[in-house]
Every structure is written in C-alpha cells, then in structure tokens.
C-alpha cells in the first residue's frame, strides 16, 4: 500500500470496481436462481431489479471516481454485496415488498453520496456534539408521541412519515456514536488517567461521567417504554464499547455486562414480554411454547437443519414457513438455502467489514476520528452478532435488523450513511498521508 503512495490523483478505483464485478455476478446468478424455481410466470419486475440495483452501484462507483475520492475501496462493495443478498432474499421471501426495498436502496445510495459530500470537514461533527445529543433524544422520544408514534408487533419504535413509517432509533445509533466520540475525545484523559482506585476498582471522576451516563440512561428508559430489546442491547453495547475504546478500562465493560445481566434478570421478572423471550430461548421446543411464542424460533431452527452443508439451493427450501422471516430471520432463511457454507460466507463478509472498519479507525489521525470509525464498525458487528446469535438460539432473540440484508428502509439508509462516514474517515487519513488510494 505504501508502495502506491505518490500515484497521481484521479486514479481509477480498480479494487472497488473489480469487487463490484463479483457483486454483479452474484446478484445476477442469485436472482436467476430464485426466479428459476418460481414456477409461476416470469416477472419482468424481478429482472429489472438487479439491473437497476447494479446500475445504482456502478453510479456510486463512478461518482466516487468522479470526485476523485481517495479512501477505502473495500467497504462499499461489501455493503453492495450485502444489499444484493438482501434484495435476493426479499424477492425470495416477500416478493411484494421488492419494489419498496429497491426504492429504499436508491434512497440509501443517495444518502451515502450525500454523506461523502457533506459536511466538508468531518471535525465539524465533533463541534456540534450537543446538537446531536439533543437530536438523538428527540428522535428517541418521537415514537412515544401520540400523533406520529406507531406501534408495530408490540414495539412502539416507529414514526409516521408521509405514506410510510421509519424507525428513528436506526439514526440514533449513529448520532450516539458521534456524540460519544466527540465527548470522550475531550474528556478521555480525565476519565482514564486521573482516576482513584479502591482496591482493583477504578473510581471514575463522577462529574465527567454524568453526561454520557445521562445520555445512555435516556436511551434505556425510552427503549424500555418502547419495548424494543434489540435496540436497548445495541445502545448499551455502544455505550460500553465507546467507554472502553476511550479509556482502555476493561472494568467498565465488565461492570456494564454485569449490570446488563442484572437488568435482564430484573426485566425477566418485571416484564412479561422479556420473560417470554427468555423462556422461548431456553426451551422453545416445550409444548406450551413451540406453537406459540417459540413458533418463530423453532421454525427458524428447522430451516437451519434443512440447510446442511451446501443448502437446499436458492428457492428450494421452505424458509417462508418462518413468520416475518424477511425482517427477523433472514439469516436462517439464507442458511437454509445456501447452507453452512453460505452462512459462513455471509458472516465472513461482516467480519471483513469489521476488520476494514477497524483498520480505518487505527489509521485515523485524531482520537475523535478513531473513536468514530471504531464505534461505527462496532455497530455493524454487534448488530450482526445479536440478530444472528438470536436466530441461532445462542442468545435470546431480539428484533434487530441484520445490517444491509434484512428488509427495512430505515436500517438500509442509516447503514449506508454509516459506510459513507467510514469512507470519509479513511479519506482524511489518506489526505494526511498524502498518498493514493489503497
């Protein structure tokens, strides 16, 4: 990579382009495979979708080349590949939602491009940290408000926007990382070095912890009222990870995890919906649960079992027997038809995303950018682990989206913005080095 330093500006992004060729090959074969197994008549819409999507991705590539963007070339193709898998699975599992998902991916691409252009200076994000905090809180409270709030499947996490509805917490997760990164950059020295200890336990200087704990507390309280365990776990995870990244104090993480387990234990006894989730995790096959609360999970496990090593083949399984498969159980659906091999490949894509994101964080020039990039990469990894772990019955199931793949517009748009931000951080590093693109 260093060898490439000094390559003239405006150089084409060959790595990105060649990776996009693989995405194109995969998207086309995937759609053809799904269409081939659907005995019903050939639907032109389904043929147009991969074409539109690939044109869109190519447009993003051309856009990046056109503005002589010098930053990471791996993340965008991974996000494109994952989005393609998502579109194929929507076609497979809920084809009536396909055009909607395609529209969302167009909006997501637009949001990505916008993030690449605005703001001109990334550090501006840090200056407005309290604005982000306030905006985050407002977005979190919004679903609880009477007129615009909306409850879906027992969780009150939606707000009405025009004809559709969005999940504001998807945006809040990014705002939260920006706020934490900015705040911790300013105070991390105080938090990690001037602390007193009682025995092995560090005693943090309380006044400096107040804003982050308060921010996190608001998130928790709101999520408890909105009954969305997935988002609660994600916010809590972001909070712990950012605190650890800034201070290097594993104690925070351990204390936090202990609190999470204690909180979970209390919630188990206090809230019916938490108790149901935990019970279905521990004994989904029991007669009282397998036809009721555990039905979805059990059907998901059946799908996995049918997958075997190489899978039933796209379109040949029966993942459609899992209720709401397109949003909660896409991983099991994919594993049934692509097998363990496909499931591991999918996980590998997220792992590469994580490594690439963390590499960008390692190379970032300022603590703010380091914390920002690491926090954003962490979001994608944690979300993947939480939903896949839930699908695999490793942990209780929470309704969180599989990044880029699961059906859902808010999720797709915010995750693409997240990729945009990561690319921006890598661009700053490249500028500092004065070198060409990796």
């Amino acid at each position: 990579m260093r060898a490439e330093a000094g390559v003239p500006l405006g150089r084409a992004r060959f790595t990105e382009l060649s990776l996009l060729v693989w995405v194109a090959a995969f998207a086309v074969t995937g759609f053809v495979a799904v269409l081939a197994t659907e005995t019903s008549s050939f639907s032109p819409t389904a043929a147009i979708v991969p074409a539109v999507f690939l044109t869109l991705m190519l447009a993003l590539h051309v856009f990046l080349v056109g503005i002589r963007f010098r930053g990471d070339q791996i993340l965008m193709p991974i996000a494109a590949g994952l989005t393609a898998i998502g579109l194929i699975l929507v076609q497979r599992l809920a084809s009536d939602l396909l055009l909607q998902q395609l529209s969302w991916s167009i909006i997501a691409a637009g949001a990505f491009a916008a993030t690449i252009l605005v703001p001109r200076d990334l550090t501006a994000l840090a200056r407005f940290k309290w604005t982000w905090a306030l905006l985050g809180v407002l977005l979190l409270i919004a679903p609880l408000l009477p007129l615009i709030g909306r409850e879906v499947n027992g969780a009150r996490i939606w707000i009405k926007v025009g004809p559709g509805s969005i999940e504001p917490w998807e945006a809040v997760k990014i705002l939260l990382v920006i706020f934490f990164a900015a705040y911790l950059e300013e105070y991390r020295e105080v938090l990690s070095h001037t602390q007193r200890r009682i025995g092995p336990f560090p005693v943090p200087p309380v006044p400096y912890l107040v804003p982050i704990v308060a921010m996190w507390g608001i998130a928790m309280v709101v999520m408890v009222f909105e009954k969305d365990m997935g988002a609660t776990v994600l916010f809590f995870g972001i909070f712990l990870a950012m605190l650890f990244l800034a201070t290097g104090e594993a104690f925070y993480a351990i204390l936090g995890l202990t609190l999470l387990i204690l909180g979970g234990f209390a919630a188990y006894h206090l809230f019916g919906h938490v108790q149901t989730r935990v019970d279905t995790w521990i004994r989904p096959f029991d007669e009282d649960l397998r036809f009721d609360a555990g039905f979805q999970l059990v059907q998901g496990l059946f799908a996995l079992a049918n997958g075997g090593l190489l899978g039933a083949g796209l379109g040949n399984g029966m993942p459609d027997r899992i209720p709401v498969v397109w949003s909660d159980f896409v991983f099991d659906a994919f594993a049934e038809e692509a097998g363990l091999a496909g499931a591991l490949a999918l996980l590998a894509l997220y792992l590469v995303f994580l490594y690439r994101g963390m590499l960008i964080a390692l190379r970032a020039p300022t603590p703010f950018l380091q914390l920002l990039a690491a926090g954003l990469s962490f979001i994608v990894a944690l979300q993947t682990l939480v939903i896949v772990g839930g699908n695999l019955r490793l942990i209780p199931l929470t309704g969180i989206t599989l990044p880029f793949v699961a059906y859902g517009g808010s999720s797709l748009v915010t995750n693409w913005m997240l990729v945009g931000l990561l690319l921006r951080v890598s661009q700053v590093s490249e500028r500092m080095r004065g070198g060409g693109a990796p």
Partner: protein
C-alpha cells in the same frame, strides 16, 4: 500514528472476532450436528410438505389391512384413517397441526426415507429425488383390536394386548377416542383440533401408554416376586385379621381386607382371594428397600421403551418408600403408586415369558414401495427381571386366582384354556368410584397373549374388568 486508543481498538476487534467464531460454530451446530434430529421432528413442516403432493406411505395392520392411506384428490393427496379405535396409535398427519402417533414416530419411513435406507435420504436431500413411499406395518391385529374395542364399549378406560414373547402390541384401545379425519381436512381442521384440545375427557391421550392409574391388587405380583426372591417362604401361613395394623404407632390407620377375612393365608391364598392384609405383612417383612428394588426392576417409575410417547408413573411421590404405612399400602398396590396399562402388561408379560421382560413396540416392519422389507422392528428383550423359577411359581398362583376355588378373577375364565391373571380394584380420590383392573395371560403353560384392562370409575372394580380381558384373549387365541 500510534495512540493509546489503537490498543483498545485491537482488543475490541479481537473480542468481536471471537464472538464471530462462536457464532460460526453455532451455525455449524444447527445446520450439521443437530440437523438430523430437527429434520425428523414431527412438527417440521418440511416432512409433511414432502408428501402433500405425493402419496404418503400406508399404515397397515399385521395382516396388511389398511389403517391409514393416502387418497388422490383434486389438490394432491389426502390422508384417510380407517379405524377410530386406533386414533391415538396411528395419529394424524396435518399440514397445520403437525404429526402425532405412528405418523410422527415413523414420519421419515412414511415418506420413503427410512433411517435404515441412507441412500434414499441422501438422494432426497441433495437431489430432491425422493423414493416412493413405502408402508409401516403394525403388530396390531384388527380382529383382536375389534374384540378389545367391543369389550370396552363406551366405558372410559383402556385395553392393551401384546405378545409376551416379542413385545409386539396386538391391540390398543383407549376410550374416549376420536375421528382423526377432520383433523387432516383443511376445511374442518381448525374446529376439530380446537374441540379435541379442549375436551375434558382428553381423547388425544393414549391411555394405554400415557394414562397413569393406581394399580391396586394387580401390583401384588411385584410384592410376591420380591418376597420369593429374597427367601420368603410362600407356603408359610400368615394370620390375617381384618382390620390390620402392625403396631400402635399406626394410630387410627388400618389395612382393610376386601373380604373382611379372619384366618390363615399362604401366598397362593393371598393371590386367589386378593388378600391385602397378607401382602401388607409380606411387604413389612421383606422391607421397603427390597420392594422398591423390585418395583424398579419391573420398570415402575421409569418410562418404558416404546415407539410412541409413554408416561413413566411413580413408586411414590418422593421415589422412595419412607414410612411403614406407605410400605404396607404399596405392598398391595395402593400407597402412592402410579402405573400405565402398558407397564402392567409388560410386568405380566415378564411372568408369562419366564422372567424375561420384552420391549413393547407398535410397529413391526417398514417396507418399501415394492413390498421389500426395509427394516424389521424387533427390539430385543429388556432383560431377565426375575428368575424362571419365580416366574413359574407366580404364574401358577395367577392361574389359581382365575381358575381356583373362589378365585377373584373367575370372570376371566375361558373354557378349554388355562388362564393366569389378577383383578384389581384401585381406590382413587375419595368420593370417586374405584378403577377396575384385570391383567392376565393365556394359555398359562405357553402364553401367547397378555392383556391389561382398565375400566375407569366402575363400582364393581376388577369384577367388571376380568370378563373383558377374557373376551380379548379369546379373540387372540381364536377360541
């Protein structure tokens, strides 16, 4: 460009990578390791879908008479069930409510993927090339089944007949029963299933293997076996005076004699006249440990090996006999004992079979579409439970209970055939009529059939049950 944050980023990345590794192992577990078990789960819709567009294998009795078949309809194939007295055994294959009974236990065989035929499974799984469905043959003999169903009539209860030499179940009736056909009919299934599930009489329950009852006097063979094998002299006469208590510490608690007896009894008398006080004294003599040991040897309190769901019952609430009054009560079959009719049939089959307990099974064979036997289901015996000598002695005493002077089980007599057996009148909750039991086998010298009968809540108890047992044995022996 190093900063302290870099080290933290590396630690966090490493932790997350570890979590990805664990997740990958989880994926491998479900897709590979747990896959066979889940693939054959009776509620896995893939199993049923595999046959909705193709005929599902037939379930037939031992003579090939159809019990469940797939009929061609406009929209594929529909399941049809021929005998409602076998509803709990044959079960149902519903696309909505899953599978039960033999339909569930042999679900893979019925779609042409018997575990004994791995090539078919492999071909179906990786090429979607399914073998034509074969059939599952049961040990049930429709002639004996009909006799058992007729004998019980509309009375709540259960009858099971099995071959003591092989453990193959010849007849299995559980009343009340139900018609499985509406459960597999898409237009009626919801109402039918709803109604069956909420029926207080629990028609879905296979009382033969899943119904638990106090055994009463039919349990005395276990007390007898324990006594005989621990050196108790069966010919020694014991004094019986109704009511009985071992000592004053029992307070106002007494063991009662069914015939208000006063006199001297040996073990043969005890069986013939079903004398509770005699067996209570035997139990107190040999002790709780011995009685518990033999009850467990005979499988009381353990789930019997069976190809359908079975209940395990109990020796007592705690699993041990911890006080003299409970020991006395358990010795003649009351106390806190709970058994299923199938368990009792197996206990008597052990006596009929020279002390060797057979393994009960409903299915006997799986055949492929051409009629070749893919798998023969003949589980070997569970083991030698009591010595052949003890079995012979008990068998003779059980003949006495049916054929002897004043034998309580006289109702089970069959002209020209020596029958061994025992009635029981099991007390249950206060205010409810007792359950009537009969368990026996014939011909006593070379038994080919064991029958266990229970009639729930019948005032005459064992007297009601014994003739029903005789009717079933006659059908089995062709008399």
């Amino acid at each position: 460009m190093t900063s302290p944050i870099a080290a933290n980023i590396r630690s966090l990345t490493f932790t997350l990578a570890l979590a990805f590794l664990v997740t990958s192992i989880g994926a491998a577990y479900w897709t590979i390791l747990a896959s066979d078990q889940l693939a054959n789960d009776p509620f896995n819709p893939r199993l049923i879908a595999a046959t909705s567009s193709r005929p599902r294998g037939a379930i037939v009795d031992r003579n090939g008479a159809p019990l469940a078949t797939s009929e061609k309809t406009d929209s594929g194939f529909a399941r049809s069930y021929r005998d409602r007295t076998l509803a709990q055994v044959v079960g149902y294959a519903s696309t909505k409510y899953g599978l039960s009974g033999i339909e569930a236990a042999y679900a893979d065989s019925l779609i042409g993927q018997d575990p004994a035929d791995p090539v078919s499974i492999w071909k179906a799984r990786y090429f979607g090339d399914r073998a034509p469905a074969g059939q599952v043959m049961l040990g049930i003999d429709l002639k004996i089944q009909k006799a058992a169903a007729d004998a019980l009539g509309g009375r709540k209860g259960a009858i099971v007949a099995l071959d003591p030499r092989t453990g193959a179940i010849l007849a299995s009736v559980s009343v009340p029963s139900y018609d499985p056909n509406p459960v597999v009919d898409p237009s009626k299934q919801d109402a039918a299933f709803e109604q069956l599930n909420h029926d207080q009489n629990r028609p879905l329950l296979n009382r033969v293997a899943q119904g638990l009852y106090p055994p009463g006097s039919i349990f005395k063979v276990i007390t007898g076996a324990a006594a005989l094998e621990s050196g108790f002299d069966a010919t020694k006469k014991l004094r019986v005076d109704d009511p009985y208590q071992a000592d004053k510490s029992w307070g106002d608690y007494f063991v009662r004699s069914a015939s208000h007896a006063h006199g001297l009894f040996d073990m043969a008398d005890g069986f013939r006249l079903s004398e509770n006080i005699y067996f209570a004294q035997v139990g107190l003599t040999i002790g709780a440990a011995k009685l518990t040991e033999y009850a467990k040897r005979f499988g009381v309190g353990a789930t019997p090996s069976l190809d359908l769901p079975a209940a395990k019952g109990q020796v007592s609430e705690t699993g041990s006999i911890d006080r003299p009054t409970l020991l006395a009560d358990t010795s003649y079959g009351q106390g806190e004992l709970l058994v299923s009719p199938l368990q009792m049939a197996l206990i008597y089959a052990t006596i009929a079979n020279g002390g060797v307990m057979p393994t009960a099974h409903y299915a006997t064979e799986v055949r492929d579409a051409e009629g070749h036997v893919v798998r023969s289901i003949a589980p070997g015996p569970i083991g030698q439970v009591i010595s052949p000598g003890t079995a012979k002695t008990l068998s003779a005493m059980l003949v006495g209970a049916v054929e002897g002077q004043g034998g309580f089980a006289f109702g089970a007599r069959i002209p020209g055939v020596q029958v061994a057996g025992k009635t029981g009148t099991a007390e249950n909750r206060p205010g409810q009529a007792p359950h009537g039991w009969f368990v026996g086998f014939a011909p006593a010298e070379n038994p080919t059939v064991v029958v266990a009968v229970i009639v729930e809540n019948t005032p005459e108890g064992g007297v009601t049950a014994a003739p029903l047992g005789a009717q079933v044995m006659r059908a089995a022996l062709g008399k």
